[in-house]
Symmetry: C2
Subunit: 331 residues, 2 copies
């Protein structure tokens, strides 16, 4: 591939002039023409590695997500990518598997690769952002906040938990359990607090074992649902705090021979690739792609020099389908 020196030689100017032409600095029209002609003839593409070394930064954003196989996160990734590409940035997608060790490794890569900024969904409250923050690289946390001085975009998780649970009560269910993610994760806590609040307000109380903690994956939801169904007084409905645990719960319900339309299920998050009738499950729709897009806008603003005070943007979820009163959902 041609270098700036070859373009300069062909155009009869200095390499500095070639650089000025492509970076929009002042160069006479005559010499601009010479440089562009030469570059076109040589099919010149600037070497980004050299530029990155000299400028000490890049046009790359690191995006750290905990589960690449969760469609919530792939939708979020597309939102980040949409916005980043509008500004000429590339996105490196880093799948952490909710593993703090992998997450730290990716953060170190972001630092040593001079990425311009990081968007991440932290694997835990103990995520170590010290190195990247101390380098002055902007960070935006999504879906979960951190104690570090970084911007954040999140869902109103408590309201989402409330909406999911209220929908089940409105549909006539009375023994409503909750399958939550791992304890200690802020998003999990907020969502099941929403469940608990509605259960307390509607006066039915909860049974022992009606709150089950699971991992966020399909198999976590599956195991938790089996545990719920094995109780002396099983629930007649369940709220899951994410989409994949709802899938697992549905599988367990089907395996138990329960027709899905007679058991109440509300998920915080859209179920991917739904083939059941839409009324079978209440889905609290999370704006994942917009969440990603918002996070990228905030990060790009910081990269561009934005020095406004740190802020947290909170997005809202919405319930789908809207729930009419009465027993069961499949009306």
């Amino acid at each position: 591939m041609a270098t700036i020196y070859e373009v300069a030689a062909l155009a009869g100017v200095s390499p500095a002039t070639v650089s000025r032409v492509f970076n929009g600095l002042t160069v006479s029209e005559e010499k601009q023409r010479l440089v562009r002609d030469a570059a076109a003839r040589l099919a010149f593409t600037p070497n980004k590695t050299a530029r990155r070394l000299r400028k000490q930064s890049s046009e790359i954003i690191a995006l750290l997500i905990p589960d690449i196989e969760n469609p919530f996160y792939t939708a979020l990734a597309r939102g980040v990518e949409d916005r980043a590409q509008e500004s000429g940035f590339s996105v490196v997608l880093c799948n952490t598997d909710d593993n703090p060790g992998k997450e730290l490794r990716y953060l170190q890569i972001a630092a040593s690769e001079q990425m311009a900024g990081v968007i991440l969904s932290p694997a835990s409250d103990e995520v170590d952002l010290g190195a990247i923050v101390s380098l002055g690289r902007p960070v935006v946390a999504v879906d979960r906040t951190t104690p570090y001085p970084v911007d954040a975009v999140k869902i109103d998780n408590r309201a989402a938990g409330i909406a999911a649970t209220a929908a089940l009560f409105d549909a006539g269910y009375r023994r409503i359990a909750c399958i939550a993610g791992p304890a200690g994760i802020e998003m999990t806590e907020d969502r099941f607090l929403g469940w608990r609040q509605v259960v307390a307000a509607r006066g039915t109380g909860t049974h022992e074992g009606y709150l089950q903690h699971a991992n966020f994956r399909v198999e976590g939801g599956h195991a938790a649902m089996k545990a719920l169904l094995a109780l002396d007084t099983p629930p007649d409905a369940v709220v899951t705090t994410n989409n994949l645990m709802a899938i697992g719960a549905l599988q367990a319900i089907a395996e138990a021979g329960i027709p899905p339309e007679t058991f109440g299920l509300a998920a915080v998050g859209e179920l991917p690739f739904m083939v059941l009738a839409p009324a079978t499950v209440v889905q609290v729709r999370l704006p994942a792609r917009y969440l990603g897009r918002t996070a990228a806008t905030m990060l790009l603003d910081r990269i561009g020099g934005d020095t406004q005070p740190l802020r947290t943007v909170v997005l809202r979820a919405e319930v789908s389908p809207p729930v009419p009163p009465g027993k069961g959902l499949a009306l």
Copy 2:
């Protein structure tokens, strides 16, 4: 972050010696100890941009996939990532949306970013690998082959189409249609030729309109299935040539009020997040993660200097669940 010069100054050696220590060249034990101590004290992390500029390459692989929201491709990506990380390589995931323009742009990025190699599922037979191949960067094509001199890993697609179709005949269906991806894509062609071969061999022939081409997405399968159901003589079963089109077909079947267990459906590819009884759908399981892992192994071998002749590795699919004879699948 500390540079190699600062480590050298603290250790009392030259920068070249520091570089030699970390790159395993011959350095006296005494000086090795001095360098390692100094590096630890300064928390030295080598600047990969500088190294990449001097060495003219990087430890990054570009992975170009057509649909990040298709779990087949996220599983493939995990396989690539698994293997790459074993060798200290990072993977940049590039989502092309089956768009040749986006694909070309990502290939140009791979070239100008000096990525060590590329794994891609080509958006079309006309993909332009000229620039990246002429730079000598290794390329491995997955899932689809190309006319360029590159290695490939693929599924035995024809056999997969045959297996899916045969399973439906074995289950007792007789009017078996096919929902295939866009015409002209090798993988599509091979899979529906497998369908056509079995239909011809079993002597039932096909009806006008029994072969529907769609895009590979859920909505493509949905529209194609509605078109099939609207025929004067609708089919009693269908083969879809990928997983997401099966999802769309199932949605259309449910919307038409047909119990899914009475309609035959076989998909080439595992349906993601299945909540129907496993016997409802025949799934031809594709080893996506292993496909990714194999592609990465081949690419890393090339990056490492492998000069064996170009080769294509063909992996096999398997049918799940195994199909007993008789009408319908839900036995």
